[in-house]
């Protein structure tokens, strides 16, 4: 089954890094969407949900303008139709307090930067199961 992924980060370079890492990791992807902050991310999720395809996994940063990562995760949990979408936080802030707080808010996983490409794939497998890790070719 091919994944539909959303990357939420205000840094275009980081969005490109995650996109490229996912593409090179062998994960089967059918679509990768990008958003520059949590508010844009919510809009993409709602749009894709309304169109019937939905999003399988969200990567989000924490420090972002307009709506940060914690607010984004909180908002998702309040939306009945979106709260089941797994969110994987990817951030430089790896303090225990932050990780615990994000888990309590509803994030399903946490990757601290710097992170090797294999770590991203491993976390995706942990959250979604190995069926999603089918090679692209």
């Amino acid at each position: 089954m091919a994944l539909r992924v959303l990357i939420v980060d205000d840094a275009p370079a980081m969005r490109l890094y995650i996109r490229r890492t996912l593409q090179m990791s062998g994960l089967a992807l059918s679509a990768v969407f990008e958003a520059g902050d949590g508010k844009e991310g919510i809009a993409v999720l709602e749009r894709e949900h309304l169109q019937g395809a939905g999003i399988d996994l969200v990567f989000t940063d924490i420090n972002m303008p307009v709506m940060n990562g914690e607010e984004f995760v909180t908002q998702l949990q309040q939306e009945e139709r979106l709260r089941e979408v797994p969110v994987l936080v990817i951030s430089t802030d790896a303090t225990k307090t932050r990780v615990l707080r994000l888990r309590e808010l509803g994030a399903r996983g946490y990757i601290s930067k710097p992170c090797a490409p294999e770590m991203i794939r491993l976390k995706v497998e942990q959250i979604l199961g190995r069926d999603y890790a089918a090679a692209l070719c």
Partner: protein, 154 residues
């Protein structure tokens, strides 16, 4: 006395970030080097249980090489100015966050949006600033950490 090996942790944080995400090795973590000419400098301020700022400065050629590595650009293709600045901002963000995570494992901290400084900007030189020059495989990089915990130690 520096708090808990701050100098070692700063070099370790930079080495981990550069190695893992920029495919760049730190050959030497404490070289004596002149400030780079035509530098690209990023500043990241932080606050929380402690506060301060990190400056990272490197020659333009080094910044371009790091950006090309991070973005996975084809060999020989140079990043645009915007791409280079965006990547250097992300580098500053990651090194600062990684360093603070090593020191503030129980405390929340906030990183400000990284800021590229004008080429003529000078790095902070007050006593309570920790300086390290790294020799990379594509040039030298200077780190300057100004931190209130260094003030207490000075």
């Amino acid at each position: 006395m520096l708090p808990r090996c701050a100098d070692v942790d700063l070099v370790d944080a930079a080495s981990e970030v550069l190695g893992m995400m920029f495919f760049t090795d730190v050959m030497n973590g404490n070289v004596v080097a002149d400030p780079p000419e035509r530098p690209v400098t990023v500043k990241v301020e932080f606050q929380g249980a402690s506060s301060g700022m990190l400056h990272m400065s490197m020659p333009r050629e080094t910044a371009e090489a790091l950006a090309a590595n991070f973005l996975g650009l084809p060999m020989g293709e140079a990043p645009t100015e915007e791409q280079m600045n965006d990547v250097v901002n992300e580098l500053g963000n990651m090194v600062c966050g990684s360093f603070l995570s090593k020191h503030e494992s129980e405390e929340l901290f906030d990183l400000a949006k990284p800021e590229i400084l004008a080429a003529a900007a000078e790095l902070p030189s007050q006593v309570a600033t920790l300086h390290r020059s790294l020799q990379l495989d594509n040039g030298n990089m200077v780190l300057a950490l100004s931190w209130d915990r260094l003030n207490h130690a000075a």
